[in-house]
């Protein structure tokens, strides 16, 4: 079974981002970049399926700038077999990315596509579902557990009220939630090995899809600041203030 794992290079989750003074976006100059945490979970799940003898090949794909190579290398060091970089310096929207990924899926014919439920930069939570729609496949979003069952895949999903289990026809799209697994750190020998694994570089234009942005970003602003309040000394004082000052009890 072949698994495709799309990954995204994003601002590292530990970085406190700054909005540009001209409000055109977020300042990404000299900021540490990493693989989106949900994508790491997706790579880990694919590697575990390979270790279990279920998956035979894991292909990692990223759509982004040349530097997204590093993100692909990270996935290769975790255990993926080969990479595809679709190069573009444009900031594609989820629908555009889904169209590119559809073309990659058609070229590679995977049985399963596992990807993160959302990227922590745009917080869109769209790409997997859109890819699933474009391919006419089933979708198992926000997965906390998955199990293969012949030509079906059982997915436990994190939903508002608790957990939901669904049975999906394959091929399927899976998007990962936090508790699907805990991604490994790549070992040094595996990082060295990953340097020799192939990454196929493509230009976005080669896929011939219309991925042009459709939305206009009018501005990006700082959120309203919340001022730190006061420290109280005792629980009694706290209850008194909540009751008589804030009026919320």
């Amino acid at each position: 079974m072949k698994i495709l794992v799309p990954v995204k290079r994003v601002v590292d989750y530990n970085v406190k981002i700054r909005v540009k003074p001209d409000q055109t976006g977020v300042d990404l100059a000299n900021v540490k970049m990493s693989m989106n945490p949900f994508c790491e979970i997706a790579v880990e799940e694919a590697v575990r399926l390979q270790e279990a003898g279920t998956a035979t090949e894991i292909i990692v794909v990223s759509v982004g700038p040349t530097q997204a190579q590093e993100t692909i290398r990270t996935a290769l060091a975790m255990g993926a077999d080969r990479g595809i970089l679709v190069k573009t310096d444009d900031d594609l929207e989820p629908l555009g990315i889904a169209k590119v990924l559809k073309a990659v899926v058609e070229a590679e014919s995977p049985d399963l596509v596992i990807l993160g439920k959302q990227a922590i930069d745009g917080d869109n939570n769209q790409t997997g579902q859109m890819l699933s729609a474009l391919l006419g496949w089933s979708q198992g979003t926000f997965a906390s557990e998955l199990g293969l069952d012949g030509d079906k895949v059982n997915v436990t999903r994190e939903i508002d009220g608790g957990l939901q289990s669904v049975k999906l026809s394959m091929p399927a799209i899976i998007t990962t939630d936090l508790r699907l697994n805990e991604p490994r750190y790549a070992s040094l020998p595996n990082i060295m090995k990953a340097k020799k694994k192939p990454i196929d570089e493509k230009e976005l234009a080669e896929y011939g899809v219309d991925a042009a942005p459709r939305l206009e970003i009018v501005k990006v602003a700082e959120p309203a600041e919340r001022e730190a309040g006061v420290k109280v000394e005792t629980v009694g004082e706290l209850v008194d203030k909540l009751k008589n000052e804030a009026g919320v009890l």
Partner: protein, 313 residues
């Protein structure tokens, strides 16, 4: 051009998230129609028909919509999409699941998790875990929008829209519901509770959560948790408040043993009053708290329960 708002419900009652999302949908221009898709959900349609600003309710009552699975839901909404400029839903896990599928089938963009409607085509939404607010505009003929319901007031219930039956669409047959494990609780639902009491890693164990529950019950509050507490297995996933969990904005949010990681703050910093109880006075949660108490939670929480009792709660 009209807006089609897809209702969140459990086949019996209309979710509070829909009542709030209706306020946002009414600001998007044209008429607001509500689609209630479910199984045996006529009462939900009747409730939706009473919402202020709703001009019509479409009721698609069919077994295949009982759990609102993405594949049949998307097929249904696409079959109804003509004449609508906007397809909207609350940004619940259901909405997040089916809405991008609908958008891609209609070949239109989705604008996720909006917190303000500037005009029919322009919206505000948080990015980077709420550390930046993006204003985004579309010129497309159609668009999909998910609505962060906590950012909007509940719509009134003085309306009397007509309920029309909508035909079911062909089920793509790609997915099948197996079962669900829903957390049973007599407490209010997390995203609509007026008071939320949340515990973090500092709680040390799930066995200590009853201590918070006692306080919550005195206050009529919901109980939440940080990602750290959920990851550590103290409480189930649906307790999680944060960037990737639930977003809450109650009148009062009490954070107990929560350090205040960026991704947690993203889920609660729009609360009206925030209280932090933490023994680490350097914890970032104190930077957003209106009232901070530097104390060991294992003495402060029982004391809080007692003081609330004395205050007549």
């Amino acid at each position: 051009m009209n807006t089609l708002l897809i209702a969140e419900h459990n086949n019996e009652t209309l979710a509070d998230a829909t009542v709030k999302a209706a306020t946002a949908a009414a600001q998007m221009g044209g008429e607001c129609h509500v689609l209630v898709a479910g199984s045996g959900c006529a009462a939900v349609a009747d409730a939706a028909a009473k919402l202020d600003g709703v001009a019509k309710v479409l009721l698609a009552d069919d077994a295949q919509y009982a759990k609102q699975l993405a594949e049949p839901m998307a097929a249904l909404v696409v079959s109804l999409a003509d004449g609508y400029a906007t397809i909207a839903s609350p940004a619940s896990t259901n909405g997040k699941n089916f809405m991008p599928r609908i958008a891609a089938l209609l070949d239109c963009s989705q604008i996720s998790d909006i917190t303000a409607v500037i005009d029919a085509n322009t919206f505000e939404r948080p990015i980077y875990a709420g550390n930046a607010i993006q204003t985004v505009k579309t010129t497309e003929a159609k668009k999909a929008v998910t609505i962060r319901s906590t950012a909007f007031q509940a719509a009134g219930d003085g309306g009397s829209a007509a309920v029309e039956a909508a035909s079911a669409a062909d089920n793509p047959g790609l997915s099948e519901f197996v079962n669900e494990e829903l957390t049973k609780s007599d407490r209010p639902e997390l995203t609509s509770a007026k008071i939320v009491v949340s515990g973090g890693r500092g709680m040390q164990s799930g066995d200590n959560f009853p201590m918070l529950e006692k306080v919550a019950d005195k206050l009529g509050a919901a109980v939440g948790a940080s990602r750290a507490a959920v990851d550590a297995g103290f409480v189930p996933n649906d307790y999680q408040v944060g960037q990737t969990g639930k977003v809450v904005a109650p009148e009062l949010y009490i954070a107990v043993g929560i350090s205040g990681a960026i991704q947690h703050l993203a889920g609660m910093k729009d609360s009206k009053v925030i209280v932090a109880i933490n023994k680490d006075e350097e914890a970032p949660i104190f930077q957003v708290a209106d009232y901070g108490l530097v104390a060991d939670l294992f003495t402060a929480v029982p004391e809080l329960e007692e003081e609330l009792g004395k205050a007549g709660l």
